[in-house]
């Protein structure tokens, strides 16, 4: 399966309250691939993602969807192609998983034509893909963090987007659930051909799951490409101001960052008893 839609930023500048956070940035999301954006806090990676999702209006440059500026397209049309899972969406009190996932159909519905069998099929497929079928009747506010995140991803899938953007989908999750969510996204990318772009904090998980790694610093891209080509000790030192060794991940062979830090020469004290 191939994804035919193309989302790219051209000379994109984004600002909050007049303060530029992203400056003149060019980036194309390779269709059908998983792009991961990393960078230190405040480097503008979430801002960039929000700009790509048209949650922010550019102060300069533009975001193009298949060659057309995003801001000239109708919101609903964009929403049928580009889905965004923000960092902290809110689930209305008491809503069931089935209803929440169903709201992903919003851009495909109208005021009076609100639900049909096709919607049912898409929502059912989204529940299956995320392994949340057995949760369908539960209330979202009773779920664990990992379950909840899978449900939100199911909602984004019900939107049936070709391009799925996620802002730190693994925050607040323990390591098991982080891997679970990332595996789920990798599966979706492989099986449905969905173009995935996400912001991640963990460099090693980013290196493991990205086809295309984007490293940002101070609102600009400092490096991009395949993780094996991009992620070097020099780059980590440059972008994160962190001394680190980069070795091969013993499980996947992808690059793995081992930070050195100040107390590296001093192994943890073994406590008596």
């Amino acid at each position: 399966m191939t994804a035919e839609h193309d989302l790219r930023a051209v000379g994109l500048s984004l600002a909050y309250d007049g303060r530029e956070v992203v400056t003149g940035l060019d980036l194309a999301l390779p269709p059908g691939a998983v792009t991961v954006i990393v960078g230190p806090n405040g480097c503008g990676k979430s801002t960039l993602l929000r700009g790509l999702a048209r949650l922010l209006r550019p102060v300069g440059g533009t975001v193009l969807l298949d060659g057309t500026p995003l801001h000239t397209l109708a919101s609903r049309d964009v929403a049928r192609t580009v889905g965004i899972l923000p960092q902290s969406p809110t689930a209305p009190e008491g809503i069931t998983v089935a209803d929440l996932v169903g709201r992903g159909r919003h851009p495909h519905q109208g005021w009076f034509r609100q639900w049909d069998a096709a919607d049912d099929g898409v929502v059912a497929a989204a529940l299956e893909a995320t392994g949340t079928v057995e949760l369908a009747g539960r209330r979202v506010d009773e779920l664990s963090g990992g379950q909840r995140q899978r449900v939100w991803i199911a909602m984004a899938l019900a939107q049936d987007p070709d391009i799925l953007l996620l802002d730190e989908p693994t925050t607040f999750l323990d390591v098991t659930h982080q891997l679970e969510v990332l595996d789920l996204l990798a599966d979706l990318n492989r099986e449905r051909g969905t173009t995935v772009a996400m912001v991640l904090h963990d460099l090693n998980l980013a290196a493991r799951y990205a086809d295309h790694l984007v490293v940002m610093r101070d609102g600009e891209i400092t490096a991009l490409g395949h993780p094996s080509d991009v992620l070097t000790a020099e780059l980590v030192a440059d972008a994160f101001a962190l001394r680190a060794r980069v070795v091969a991940d013993p499980v996947t062979g992808s690059p793995m960052v081992v930070p050195i830090g100040r107390s590296a020469s001093r192994p943890p004290t073994r406590l008596p008893g």
Partner: protein, 350 residues
């Protein structure tokens, strides 16, 4: 993108969940409609002869002699009809405010929108010596102007619920100050008229009043349906809603404008009946805890609240008719205390 073959068991589960929700919605709405009808019937017959009402209704249907034209047809039926319309309008308006602003305290009667109506009405009565429909028009304008002012003051690259609520509360204090000023400067006899208006009462409306409000509500109804649908997406947060293709600021403005029109319309005819907008949607949400926008059920709850309060106000103390706003005010104040007492605890445990 095409989806894979729809998995049968998942569809089955979805259908079950949806049917359960629908059953509950239908049940709750049926009970609420029954309550509206029962209260309406009680309002018609209480303290009169049931025969009159039956005769009158039979007359309307053309199957009987008719009768009771004055008590039922002129006095009680328009009153009941207006109570239902006012309750429904305020219930919907409160529901919209609370969902758009994401705050259970955010309702037009707490945020100074109804206060704006009162201030304008007080000015019309005390300052300009107006009466009747002109006061209603002034009230409508007052509510609209204050709401627009709150919106503009809260605007800062868009409107957040928090800012809107804070500025709305401040606006309520300002208009109350204005009302106080007008009352202290006026003649005592005029003050009484203004106070009666500001407490909120259904009074004895003419059919013409009822018709105007009914037509206004009918015209606004399709917008309520549309806004209700957009609010479902907005309930997921601004960013998620924008991601779903909702134009957040425009939707919020449209929804608030609609709610203000409903509030101003109801207030023009019945005065600012306290707390109806504030309590109706939360009650509806409690009856239907499914995360929906519950504007329809909120309208029914609003009608029930106003009808019930009107009954109490009319019959609680024999030979003394209390304005309906006093009763809803007492009920609403109790609810507000309960809300404040329970909210913290619930947030602490979740």
């Amino acid at each position: 993108m095409t989806t894979t073959a729809p998995p049968a068991p998942a569809r089955e589960v979805l259908r079950t969940v949806r049917h359960a929700r629908r059953r509950r919605t239908v049940l709750v709405c049926t009970v609420l409609v029954a309550a509206v009808l029962a209260l309406a019937w009680l309002s018609l017959v209480w303290g009169g002869r049931t025969g009159d009402t039956l005769d009158y209704l039979a007359g309307l249907l053309g199957t009987g002699e008719g009768g009771g034209e004055f008590t039922i047809g002129r006095l009680r039926l328009p009153r009941v009809a207006l109570a239902v319309l006012v309750g429904a309008a305020l219930g919907i308006a409160g529901g919209i405010f609370q969902s758009v602003l994401g705050n259970p305290l955010a309702s037009p009667d707490i945020l100074g929108v109804s206060g704006g109506a009162s201030l304008a009405a007080a000015f019309a009565i005390l300052g300009l010596g107006l009466t009747g429909a002109a006061v209603g028009v002034a009230a409508f304008l007052g509510a609209t102007v204050v709401a627009a002012a709150i919106y503009l003051l809260a605007w800062r690259d868009g409107v957040t619920g928090f800012r809107f609520v804070l500025i709305g509360v401040a606006a309520a204090f300002v208009v109350n100050g204005g009302i106080g000023y007008l009352l202290t400067r006026a003649e005592v006899s005029d003050v009484r008229a203004a106070l009666v208006w500001m407490v909120g009462s259904i009074g004895t409306p003419r059919w013409g009043d009822v018709a105007v409000l009914a037509v206004a509500l009918l015209v606004l109804a399709p917008f309520v349906v549309g806004v209700s649908w957009q609010l479902r997406a907005l309930g997921l947060g601004d960013e998620a809603a924008a991601g779903l293709g909702v134009r957040v600021e425009r939707t919020r403005l449209l929804a608030l404008a609609l709610a203000v029109a409903l509030t101003a319309g109801a207030t023009a005819f019945a005065g600012p009946v306290a707390f109806v907008a504030f309590v109706s949607a939360p009650i509806a949400r409690r009856l239907l805890p499914t995360g929906g926008t519950v504007l329809g059920p909120a309208a029914l709850v609003g009608a029930v609240v106003v009808l019930a309060a009107e009954l109490v106000a009319t019959h609680l103390v024999p030979s003394l008719e209390v304005p309906v706003g006093i009763v809803t005010g007492a009920v609403g104040a109790a609810y507000l205390l309960w809300l404040l007492a329970t909210t913290d605890r619930r947030e602490a445990t979740s």
